[in-house]
């Protein structure tokens, strides 16, 4: 199949937009993997929960009047902020209920991975229980695509998503660099034992990690719901992409998670030019295998030989 320049351009535009969504989800998974040392399989369900919590909010206050070509207004923005807070609280609550107890009982860190597997299943099926398997939408507004380049079209919502993601990532970067909690988080990521010895309260760091990871996951879920719809599978179907992005970027690295997310999004959409869309999810698996083969510590990660 020959691929025209337009198609290539469109794939790159779509890839960056998917990538932004993946980046936001990958930040939390990457931080959890570094600070709490386990791969959290339930993280993807936080995306779904965020999306649906915002849907509940929109159900009460409406999505707001569409402004500036977007399909929504202030209502959805308010609902999203609330959903971010609640999803962060949910992530932290699950930690209190399950993961913290396991950590304290001295369980093997792979037991935590397994528990997260179970937690993820429960979280996903609670969504199915309340909303079933049908797709949901925040608004019924129609949008007119903007033609960025000849043949390359994007929705105003998508541009908004990409811009907002970049702003939030920049803010988070500055916060990690300069705030007390941010510095404590980076120190804990480096070495939990040393951080404790320096008087850092690990519990506070862990709480911050869950609220940041959960909040960004919720935002990511709302973005999936906006482009174009919400269903119980949105998180689960992104799980491999989130892991691939976190590992590609380097576990524990914020720029890593963002660059990793964008690259995975791009790779997915570019490969779709040649491969049937049925294989979409396994594209990120291909990326993951390549990373583990060539550079297991990721782009921005440090080598951790024998870290089991």
């Amino acid at each position: 199949m020959s691929v025209s320049l337009n198609m290539l351009g469109q794939a790159i535009a779509d890839g960056l937009l998917t990538g932004a969504v993946i980046s936001l989800g990958a930040i939390g998974i990457s931080f959890t993997m570094q600070i709490m040392r386990f791969a959290n399989f339930s993280h993807a369900e936080l995306l779904t929960w965020g999306g649906y919590l915002a849907l509940v909010g929109v159900g009460f206050i409406g999505a707001g009047l569409p402004t500036a070509g977007l399909s929504f207004g202030l209502g959805l923005v308010a609902a999203t902020l609330l959903a971010m807070l609640l999803t962060g609280a949910l992530a932290w609550g699950v930690d209190r209920l399950v993961f913290r107890r396991l950590r304290r009982s001295g369980a093997h860190h792979l037991t935590l991975v397994f528990a997260s597997f179970g937690v993820g299943l429960v979280l996903r099926h609670v969504i199915v229980l309340f909303w079933g398997h049908e797709s949901r939408f925040y608004t019924q507004e129609l949008q007119i695509a903007i033609e960025l380049l000849p043949g390359v079209r994007v929705m105003p919502d998508q541009v908004f998503i990409l811009a907002l993601t970049m702003i939030i990532v920049l803010a988070l970067h500055l916060w990690l660099k300069h705030s007390r909690t941010g510095i404590a988080m980076r120190a804990t990521a480096e070495s939990p034992a040393l951080a404790t010895a320096c008087g850092i309260e690990i519990d506070r760091v862990i709480r911050a990690t869950w609220f940041i990871g959960g909040g960004l996951a919720a935002l990511s879920g709302v973005f999936v719901g906006l482009t174009p719809q919400l269903n119980a599978e949105i998180g689960g179907s992104l799980l491999l992409a989130l892991f691939a992005a976190a590992i590609l970027g380097g576990v524990g690295s914020l720029p890593g998670a963002v660059v990793g997310g964008l690259l995975v999004g791009l790779a997915e959409n570019l490969m779709l030019l040649w491969v049937s869309p049925g294989y979409k999810q396994s594209m990120s698996f291909g990326v993951l295998i390549l990373v583990l083969l060539l550079r297991p510590q990721g782009l921005f990660g440090e080598r951790q030989e024998g870290d089991r």
Partner: protein, 315 residues
């Protein structure tokens, strides 16, 4: 009455097949501490390898070689072992949870392949007219089912005996030594990666065998026999029964599959069809919550691992 009996035969056969899966998982997790999050993927590789090799030839299909079922069973184990070796060799040297992520990825990829590569796998329709083990030797379905059950029981007994032998051999002791204290085992000159990889490959090959036995039993294969929830069920069986104990693994298969089946029947009988999705969700939520609770309050499971003391220390 005969309906009930034939159902019990079917139930027991499924329990035995899943028992093989859980025995394989126990070798990986219970004895070696390897997290396989893609059990269903290896199970499906075995099932599809068997189906592709033994299905009666059909135009438009790349596979459907119409080979004998015994070849199908062997090939199923071999191909599954190969897949396990490939991802194991890549990830066992890395962080423990990377194996979990890649095995999960294998499961997702296999599911997509079975759905989308129609020429090989039959796509959503699957493959039919497989070369079923023992088929043709019996006149009635009831006789076939009974004979198949006996064959499964024999295979499970053989696998159980083989695993027990292996685990009590020096090889098995090294596995446990690595699981408990890798550094100490390495210091004693044991190649931890090689032992881990061997355990992972053998365990996965057993899952492949189970997949082949399953599709050989039902006589057709489709992607809907290999849903992601199976990974979770296999884990539930292992944890409930008692990881690190092969009898616990088999008991867990019986208990969890029993609870799953009964609760499934209850959901379909008690709820109107319009609430079927909700009922199924409740089923998963309850099992998921029970499992997490088990991890928190009774990580040993029903039986649990026996403490082993060297016979040389007691006199």
């Amino acid at each position: 009455m005969s309906g009930m009996l034939s159902y019990l035969v079917f139930f027991a056969s499924v329990v035995l097949i899943l028992g093989i899966v859980v025995l394989g998982l126990n070798l990986q997790w219970g004895f070696t501490g390897l997290f396989n999050a893609g059990v269903v993927g290896f199970y499906a590789i075995g099932g599809y390898t068997f189906a592709i090799l033994t299905a009666a030839p059909l135009s438009g299909h790349m596979g459907n070689f119409g080979l004998h079922w015994s070849l199908g069973l062997l090939a199923a184990m071999f191909v599954t072992a190969l897949a396990a070796w490939a991802i194991g060799a890549l990830t066992i040297r890395l962080r423990g949870d990377y194996l979990a992520i890649t095995s999960f990825g294998i499961a997702v990829t296999i599911q997509l392949v079975t759905l989308n590569w129609g020429a090989l796998t039959g796509g959503p329709n699957g493959l039919t007219r497989l070369g079923r083990p023992l088929a043709g030797w019996f006149d009635t379905p009831a006789a076939f089912n009974a004979a198949y059950l006996v064959m499964l029981a024999a295979i499970v007994a053989l696998v159980y005996w083989g695993l027990e032998r292996m685990l009590r051999s020096p090889w098995g002791r090294v596995l446990r030594a690595i699981r408990e204290d890798e550094l100490a085992a390495v210091a004693l000159g044991k190649n931890a990666r090689r032992f881990r990889l061997e355990a992972f490959v053998i365990g996965s090959a057993l899952m492949g065998l189970a997949g082949a036995l399953y599709v050989g039993y039902i006589g057709f294969v489709s992607p809907f026999d290999f849903l992601p929830i199976l990974t979770f069920q296999a884990w539930a069986m292992l944890i409930v029964g008692g990881s690190g104990n092969n009898r616990g693994a088999l008991l867990g298969a019986l208990v969890v599959w029993g609870i799953w089946t009964v609760s499934g029947i209850a959901v379909t009988k008690l709820l109107p069809p319009s609430l079927a999705a909700q009922g199924a969700a409740v089923q998963v939520i309850l099992i998921g919550a029970a499992l997490v609770a088990m991890l928190l309050w009774r990580p040993r499971g029903i039986i649990g691992e026996e403490a082993v003391v060297s016979r040389h220390t007691t006199d």
